[in-house]
């Protein structure tokens, strides 16, 4: 058959990006972000397999194109095609996406061919040799070979159908597509009735005038009754695209967020546990220290006190003060912890870690005393007493 055509455009950038995604995925996987890594690896492999090339073929009365090995493809019967032209828009990015006037399929470059169907619908196919594809398509499109008038008519018709589509979109009628197809067929018949010499711009405009303004369609079709039944295909497509973007974003960011949440939870849970452990260690340290005092080992109690304490009062002063205060109270009958509070600040002391412990103590000569002992975390990480007070 005349006009057979087949060409594959390599997607160099897609290959490059896919390999980077796989690389990032492997690194993420190796460094512990397994969910994130897996998603990137799988996404990279998917992009690589399906995006390494885009093949366009004209064969057996079909225009067919597919990504990668051709597992999935799209085909358009040639009889449904009105004409084709170079893509006039600006291409931003690669892949499959909806544009203002139809779907765009590409893997590389900034060129594409726009295929306009008889219904007015447009499909944009990326290629690095648009003019060869257009030439091949034109050579097989019956009735459009070397026919400038037909090309001009297609422009007029497409413009009318586009305006009709906009009007029907506003009405959201479930049969919008059928109406457009019927109007397209009607226009084709009007064109076919014209003798070759009658195929002029003026006559085309006359036909369009006789068709009436497309804005009338919305009113005639009775838009309101169908609103609840069906949204337009464009709306569905937009929603689907939004969902896919949301899912993709979720797949990428959710593992990170979950990890962050988990870390935050661990932190929240860990914090009170840590504090409790510190308080227990401080109580243990205070009790050991108090035992030295109880035994009258004031000199040793000074040695084992916190550095801050020792800098504040010298050993002799301490021995003198402690013996003066504790001596008259006599032996300890009982002692138990009343309260213990973890603090990072203490009055008149530098910021640090303190546990203020109150003991309910019964002495031989004072039945209900309260001892306040304040261990602090010393520079070597050990809990040592930094203050002692008896009431």
């Amino acid at each position: 058959m005349n006009g057979q055509y087949r060409h594959s455009q390599p997607g160099y950038l897609t290959i490059f990006v896919s390999l980077i995604m796989i690389g990032v995925g492997v690194i993420s996987y190796a460094t512990g972000s397994q969910h994130f890594g897996t998603i990137f690896i799988l996404a990279g492999i998917f992009c690589l397999v399906f995006g390494y090339k885009l093949t366009v073929e004209i064969k057996d009365d079909l225009l067919k194109f597919w990504f990668g090995p051709g597992v999935f493809w799209k085909s358009i019967p040639l009889e449904q095609i009105a004409y084709c032209q170079p893509f006039k828009g600006i291409i931003l990015g690669w892949g499959i996406r909806i544009t203002g006037d139809g779907w765009l399929y590409n893997v590389s470059g900034l060129k594409a061919v726009t295929v306009i169907l008889k219904t007015g619908k447009k499909i944009h196919i990326g290629t690095d040799e648009p003019h060869k594809l257009i030439e091949a398509l034109n050579s097989v499109l019956r009735g459009f070979e070397k026919d400038e008038a037909a090309g001009m008519w297609s422009e007029v018709k497409t413009d009318y159908l586009k305006r009709a589509e906009q009007a029907l979109s506003a009405a959201r009628h479930p049969r919008s597509f059928e109406i457009l197809a019927d109007v397209g067929s009607h226009l084709d018949r009007r064109f076919a009735e014209l003798e070759p010499q009658q195929r002029t711009w003026d006559n085309f405009q006359k036909i369009i005038t006789e068709m009436g303004p497309p804005s009338d369609y919305a009113e005639l079709v009775g838009g309101n009754e169908s609103v609840a039944k069906t949204a337009s295909l464009t709306k569905y497509t937009a929603i689907l695209t939004l969902i896919l973007i949301t899912v993709a974003a979720g797949m990428i960011f959710l593992p990170k967020m979950l990890k962050r949440d988990e870390a935050a939870k661990t932190k929240q849970v860990k914090s009170p546990l840590h504090e409790e452990q510190k308080v227990n260690a401080a109580i243990e340290s205070a009790e050991s220290w108090l035992q030295l005092i109880d035994e009258g080992k004031y000199s040793e109690s000074w040695t084992q006190a916190a550095e801050y304490f020792r800098n504040f009062v010298n050993q002799q002063q301490w021995i003198s003060s402690a013996s003066a205060v504790r001596g008259p109270l006599g032996k300890v009958i009982s002692r138990k912890v009343k309260t213990s509070t973890y603090k990072t600040q203490a009055p008149g002391a530098p910021d640090g870690q303190y546990v203020i412990i109150q003991f309910e103590t019964s002495f031989e000569n004072k039945a209900d005393a309260v001892e306040t002992v304040t261990p602090m975390m010393d520079s070597d990480g050990q809990w040592r007493v930094s203050g002692y007070y008896i009431r």
Binding site: I179, S185, R189, A192, E210, Y217
Partner: protein
């Protein structure tokens, strides 16, 4: 009052009953109906308008469509009245007859 506007609105309002009556003669396609209406005085329709009307009537279940191959182009889409369409048309025609009668009586000065 803009007479042309009134005529346009009246014509639009009558399109449903006109299309259903045309289909009551037998199945027809949009293009054919347009050509027929073009020949009827006062009913010249803008060609494109027939298709939204047919689509609405089909959605309402008053007409049904089917395709048949054509020798001079793509397959033709034919429309025909459904049973519901026939009943609705009968009611519409009765109402229209009453309206005409009432209008005539007013014109002749015999009405209430």
């Amino acid at each position: 009052m803009n007479l042309e506007n009134w005529q346009t609105q009246l014509r639009k309002g009558l399109l449903d009953i006109v299309v259903l009556n045309l289909l009551n003669r037998g199945p027809s396609h949009g293009y054919e109906m347009v050509q027929t209406m073009k020949r009827i005085d006062g009913l010249q329709i803008r060609e494109g308008n027939i298709y939204p009307i047919l689509a609405r009537l089909e959605t309402d279940g008053l007409v049904a469509s089917y395709s048949e191959p054509s020798t001079d182009g793509p397959p033709r889409k034919y429309f025909q009245l459904t049973e519901a369409g026939k009943k609705t048309l009968e009611a519409m025609n009765n109402h229209w007859d009453r309206l005409i009668k009432s209008l005539e009586s007013i014109k002749k000065g015999t009405g209430v």
